[in-house]
Subunit: 493 residues, 2 copies
């Protein structure tokens, strides 16, 4: 049990906040609903970005940048999208401040600098991007247009939670234009697969791929696909979405192209995104009573080396520091990021706890006796199981251990999910299982009416219609109607 | 002369816009003052970012992210800074839109969603960052705090120009806190040197390092250092700034630390930034009548390979394409980015012009006859001088040529600057030289009064007090007073 953080079993929300703040990932700010992402948290985001960016580029996408402001008259053009986000929009109405005539040390909004048209701070960029695509797309030769943007977006939230729900957050949003419906659908599924693979392979986060219900889909989409993960508080977390937008935006923004046969056609659209919310998912899925657990594949620091200094033997201390530096240099060449703790004022136990809190995947201690035997002690963060490894072939050994850690973290999260996933066939069983937390599979009659009643009565939502369920039939737990829709329910973040 | 773009000698502003838009770097948007950065332009920015980010990290800085919104009451705390930016602030006043009761297809700002306190969209982040640093800095052990942020900022501009002056732009802003004045000053100079080195070595842009006058310094700074470059329109362009902020922000935001001796001290501050404006600088410094000229060290694409296809010899065409792919694979391994143009519908001349417009540093043509002789034709963009190179050791040769191109572009810009830099000792000579464009060195009496009169009468500003001028004395061109300040004048962007 860490002395730094709240006991998870006593107050899981406070435990989460402690992890974020004391783990050095983020901080509250004095701006309502906005957080500060601290260097360690931002380093984690940079690792994630690098992996995703490469996956996007490897599949032919290019990055670009579009304005943060959307004039209201453009924003409202795709009505479903506009109405879906209207309640969360930060709106710029003025372009100047001036000195307060009553108090020279204060500023006031200059009433003479009112904008003719209000600007919405982007909550998502479909409107501004499709308004631009109209000029970029003339012919089938301009398609597909495969663009991604890394950006900040703002959605005014009343109840905020660090990383999981903040007014401003960082994300990437892909926006693609295609000549055919089939191609746009294939893109939608390709990006969903990229997200699922990223979550499982890099974040060590098992996910369920599925289709959102009509009620839960993105405002302006024809179909929304998502990946859903289970957190240790028993709640589901939507970790990424990929939308097939059909021709909604191309029609709203009049984006047509000349086809090979000379006819004029509307383009087909997709959009897809993941955000800094993934950092929240990572924390809530893997952290434990000692602190954060960061999977090696996205960890800003892979290994912390702690030389076991002796207060009265400076000569020996220098040998330990020297050895630590040699190991660091050697590991750096293999793209392993290493921190050496050369602080001689702190006890090893204090240091262990601090790095466990930060979730650094592997701790290596260098002690004089082990060193004489050609050994080092290692301790993976997620298991806490110490062992000795040979100094010979150290780099290979550490890389092997880091791979094991990556798999170990995933397996632990997968076991958790398996132990918290049930299938029910009655509404009574459903209610009792939902109350316990976790994923619950059940048949649903496919109507929004039933979906909303279940939500009202149990606070559980349909997370998705999983892509891999078989087409058996069963009875809707609420209406008893026969249905082929076995869907995934959970309470959600 | 390119058929795509306006003649530089006829209309240099239209030439510039053509380069940006037709060269594929950026586009106007329907949002007042905001531009869209297109994939090729963003690729250029990504190259620049990667180099700078590494330089920042190599000097101990870490990235973080702070809110885009600054509550007015925080923004106004450092008065000079607040007043300096007040006229350019986009202000968020509401957090919701609602359906227009008179027209269901329209949205209006919901008057009931007025914010209690207005939020400024950051024009620069000193206020929000120093407000955060107050919680992060307690002891001398927390210092130095070396943080950088990559972000978008908004400064409301009345007259905009793509990349050079837009309401929203992308930049990096470093914000550091130090225990001593000397350390903060050293940081200020270190970052100025990093910018100067980046401009000269990577952007091939010769710059003058100097100190801004009191009148021209950053609002809230004690001293502003800058790098100034000369553009082909005869105007100066400020390409980067590094500010020694003294204790202005620490005092305004009450950021104190406990020193080693137990005393309480205010921290010392710096900030420094470069922006997407550098892309504008790159264009205006190097482009020519055929289009863009991108230095290899920041080029998204280094080499374009054009196989010389024959309409009736598909077998031979396949050999050429195959050879191009081999060369590309081989160059990719050396981190050279290569584009192959396999389009058989377009003439070589058309392709040449298109890639010249884009400024791709090196063109390689593969023709059947050259290939038989074991040769390839290359043509550096900046010189247009074709030559044949051996297929043996091709990679080394191309790397050597790219290095030559980098140096060649720099030398060309340096010659231009040398040919457009004069020193004058009378106001008449000054006025006539300023009219011609270029850099003009002259003595100045050190008063803001004289500086403003010269500006009013000639539109020339003091770009900087260069760091490398010797401390001779001369007469101020305006007041004839003796002064040791030989300063750099120019009209500026």
């Amino acid at each position: 049990m860490s002395e730094f953080i709240t006991d998870k079993n006593i107050d899981i929300n406070q435990w989460y906040n402690d992890l974020v703040i004391k783990g050095g990932l983020a901080d509250y700010s004095d701006v309502r609903g906005c957080m500060v992402i601290k260097p360690y948290g931002f380093g984690l985001w940079e690792e994630m970005k690098a992996v995703l960016d490469k996956k996007f580029k490897d599949t032919g996408h290019q990055n670009a940048y579009f304005p943060i402001f959307i004039p209201k008259s453009l924003f409202e053009l795709e009505e479903q999208n506009a109405e879906g986000f209207a309640k969360e929009c930060a709106v710029v109405t003025h372009h100047r401040l001036k000195v307060d005539p009553n108090n020279k040390a204060k500023l006031i909004v200059d009433p003479e600098a009112k904008l003719e048209e209000e600007l919405v701070v982007r909550p998502t960029s479909e409107a501004i991007i499709w308004n631009t695509y109209r000029n970029w797309i003339q012919s089938y030769r301009d398609l597909p247009l495969l663009i991604n943007q890394w950006a900040n977006v703002v959605r005014w939230e009343m109840r905020t939670k660090l990383f999981l729900r903040t007014a401003e957050f960082l994300w990437q949003e892909g926006h693609t234009a295609h000549a055919t419906e089939a191609e746009a659908k294939a893109e939608t599924m390709q990006m969903l697969d990229i997200y699922a693979n990223f979550a499982e392979e890099y974040l060590a986060l098992p996910v369920v791929k599925g289709l959102k219900t009509e009620h839960e889909k993105f405002a302006g989409a024809v179909e929304t696909y998502c990946i859903e993960a289970l957190m240790q508080d028993g709640k589901a977390l939507q970790a990424g979405t990929s939308h097939f937008l059909g021709q909604n935006f191309p029609k709203a923004f009049d984006v047509k192209y000349q086809a090979e046969d000379g006819s004029e056609q509307y383009a087909w659209a997709t959009s897809w995104g993941v955000s800094t919310r993934l950092i929240g998912a990572l924390i809530l899925a893997h952290a434990d009573e000692k602190g954060l657990v960061i999977p090696p594949k996205v960890a800003p620091i892979h290994v912390v080396i702690i030389p076991m200094y002796h207060a009265k033997n400076e000569e020996q201390n220098q040998i330990l520091t020297q050895k630590a530096k040699e190991i660091k240099d050697s590991l750096n060449k293999r793209n392993i990021s290493v921190l050496i703790d050369t602080d001689k004022t702190k006890r090893p136990g204090f240091k262990y706890a601090a790095y466990e809190l930060q979730g650094i995947p592997l701790r290596v201690t260098i002690g004089p006796r082990d060193l004489e035997l050609g050994k080092l002690e290692i301790c993976p963060r997620h298991s806490g199981e110490k062992s000795l490894i040979d100094l010979d072939h150290l780099d290979d050994e550490i890389i092997r251990v880091l791979d094991e850690i990556q798999v170990g973290i995933y397996q632990k999260a997968l076991s958790y999910r398996e132990n918290h996933t049930r299938e029910v066939d009655s509404y009574d069983a459903f209610k009792s299982e939902i109350e316990k937390g976790g994923f619950v599979y059940a048949y649903w009659d496919g109507t929004t009416e039933t979906e909303l009643k279940i939500k009202e009565e149990t606070k559980a939502t349909i997370r998705c219609i999983p892509l891999d369920t078989k087409s058996n039939e069963g009875k809707c737990i609420y209406t008893q109607k026969l249905s082929s829709l076995k869907v995934l329910f959970a309470r959600a973040h």
